[in-house]
């Protein structure tokens, strides 16, 4: 009768399993009671496991790198002259299930093997882990396609796409407005949380983006269309503010199949009216003092915009940027009028569509939202100006979460 080698008291009471790090004896080796035959890793330390009796080391049930439950033998010691076959019948049936923790996993995913390291750790890239955590996806049964079976982002996305009902984790694109840059989204991004993939490209002639290659509104859209086409995700949620809203709308019009939902925050392009004086004032300003009053016009509560804010904004507005934006404003909003009309495009939008507008918007009047088609939702925010995502980020984030959830539960599957 084979004698099982067990971990005994070494594991300590907090543990259910230990990791076998080393075998000091090989099957067939003669061992004496008290010889160290194996080393296991417990919660506290590496612990030596001694042979319980004299004999010959027989079958090893948990090899190096294997995880084994504390009540399960690591291997067996045979009496002199006892043969392996007897040991098999003696020990195996009883312990087979415990020593082979996940037989069904192997059957479910034949190749490549699940990305597990010795000890059961899942090998996945950080972003794959983050996306999986956000979507509630268990990585332990997923096969990795990266080097040495590492689970990469694409594996998680493929698994999510194949599994209905879970968050498809489509990225959300945030397009800022005229004279702003990607930083304008920071408050909203903080509300949406890190687990949502946010893309914040900058419009041509804004932030770090080069000036638009062509004149007029299409000169602005063309590079963004190129950017959209370069994105890996099959579909994206589009969010745009003001001029960025107009660009988002134009993108949705040209690439309907790539858009999962469209959320327009005080978008341009839905009527001729616009506060040209404020646009000109922002373009013209070369000092924080001259910029401040125009920035304050953007919001309902001027107290939101202080001297520091104006100074920081001015610091980002170098001569080249101001020149590019002045030229752009001249072409897009000649004589203080919106020189482009996207109402026909808006009428044709077929994906989940929301418009968010501040009732106190002094730049673009909220009544322009009435051009929206019947299936669109309209949110009119009281006490809010032209910058809902800055003035009321919590509320805008809440609306966005609703849109994303609705689009994911089937509303955005028309493509």
């Amino acid at each position: 009768m084979a004698t099982p080698i067990t971990i005994g008291a070494a594991a300590g009471e907090y543990m259910e399993a230990v990791l076998v790090t080393e075998w000091r004896a090989r099957p067939g080796d003669r061992v004496r009671a008290g010889d160290v035959v194996a080393v296991v890793e417990t919660a506290k330390a590496a612990t030596e496991v001694e042979a319980p009796c004299d004999g010959v080391l027989g079958r090893i049930a948990a090899g190096e790198g294997g995880e084994v439950a504390i009540d399960t033998p690591l291997g067996f010691i045979l009496a002199e002259g006892e043969d392996e076959g007897e040991a098999e019948t003696a020990g195996e049936p009883e312990y087979a299930a415990a020593s082979d923790p996940a037989p069904e996993t192997r059957q479910a995913t034949p190749m490549p093997a699940p990305a597990r390291q010795p000890g059961g750790r899942v090998v996945a890239s950080p972003v794959a882990r983050r996306l999986a955590r956000a979507a509630g996806l268990d990585l332990s049964h997923l096969a990795g396609s990266g080097p040495r079976g590492r689970i990469k982002r694409r594996d998680v996305e493929a698994a999510l796409a194949a599994a209905p009902g879970v968050d498809a984790a489509l990225p959300v694109v945030l397009l800022h407005g005229f004279a702003a840059d990607a930083a304008i989204w920071s408050a909203l991004a903080a509300e949406l949380g890190r687990d949502r993939a946010l893309l914040r490209p900058e419009l041509p002639g804004h932030g770090k983006a080069p000036p638009p290659p062509g004149a007029g509104f299409n000169g602005l859209v063309a590079p963004m269309l190129e950017w959209l086409d370069a994105q890996q995700a099959a579909r994206l949620h589009l969010v745009g503010h003001s001029l960025g809203g107009a660009v988002a709308l134009a993108l949705a019009g040209q690439r309907p199949g790539r858009i999962a939902s469209l959320t327009l925050i005080a978008p341009a392009g839905l009527g001729p009216g616009i506060d040209g004086e404020a646009l000109a004032g922002i373009c013209r300003a070369t000092h924080p003092e001259s910029l401040l009053p125009w920035l304050r016009r953007l919001v309902a509560d001027p107290g939101l915009i202080g001297d520091d804010y104006a100074r920081a904004a001015m610091a980002g507005r170098g001569a080249a940027l101001r020149a590019a934006q002045t030229a752009l404003a001249g072409r897009l909003f000649p004589d203080g009028t919106q020189g482009f009309d996207l109402r026909p495009v808006l009428a044709g939008v077929d994906v989940p569509l929301r418009l968010i507008w501040g009732r106190e918007d002094a730049i673009l009047p909220w009544r322009q939202a009435l051009a929206a088609p019947g299936h669109a939702g309209l949110h009119l925010l009281p006490g809010t100006g032209h910058m809902p995502h800055v003035e009321a980020p919590q509320l805008v984030a809440r609306i966005l979460r609703e849109v994303l959830a609705a689009a994911q539960s089937g509303g955005g599957d028309r493509a």
Partner: protein, 324 residues
Amino acid sequence: MAMMRYAEALNLALREEMARDDSVFVFGEDVAAYGGVFKVTQGLAEAFGDRVRDTPISEQTLTAMAVTAAMAGSRPVLEIMYADFLPLSLDALINQASVYHYIWNGQVSMPFVLRTQGGGGVGTGAQHAKSLDAMVAHVPGLKVVAPVTPADARALLKAAIRDPHPVIFLEHKLLYNLRGEVPEEDDAPGEIGRARLVREGGDVSIFATSRMVLEAEKAADDLAGDGIAAEVIDLRSLRPLDLGAITASVAKTNHAVVVNEGWRFCGYTAELAATIMDRAFDDLDAPVERVATRDMPIPYAETLEREVIPDAAAIAAAARRALA
């Protein structure tokens, strides 16, 4: 806009700043009568007289002179002919220039610029082809910039000269003849600490410095042939780093390749890789790939030198490894 060579853009910046501020002066080996071995200071002695001075070969003394002149209220621009000789300057940089502002509680400013050029690619051997970027970028209190385009060369040299703190200005011997547009009418100084988006892409971010930016662009062309959209970012400022540009790009692409012409071990790419792990770990879909010069002396023979210094092929291969 005017087309000019990188060396001419540097010359223009020096002229503009010397004309603007009497306290700016230029000194170093062969900078006056000869106009600089790379012709960066050509004509300055004629225009500005003894504000442009030739010196003996003694980098240690020259750097200490720059420190004391800056403390005394001048704005010296020191040329060290080869970055390989930076070790001779290090005591003055590490024990004097970088610390006086701190140990004297801000009573002393240190507005000096140390211009030098490094890098290989033309068979100048183990003593004249190194990139010791990491050695100076290691030191708190020093700013380190490395412009690639003529426009940036001019704007950042102007910014360096006006900066109240010591700035190490790293040029590259293969960039001097590079031609590019320089907006002559806009003579505003650049901003130290801002990276430049060279090329936008969604698949992999390539962060490069100095001439390696040009190699990264070629690598991006190669990758585009396989449908891989590489984003190329010219860091421009090695210290301070534009952390926002780095994290934003990694958040977008989830893959990062870092490229610097210095040695790999304890090199500038090690700092970049560690920074990306610190700041953007949860955005990474693969380990950060490092592309750097092999850990050995730079060979004289150009065929061997090419095996040691990174190029577009090495960068493209690293990007493909990241995306594997």
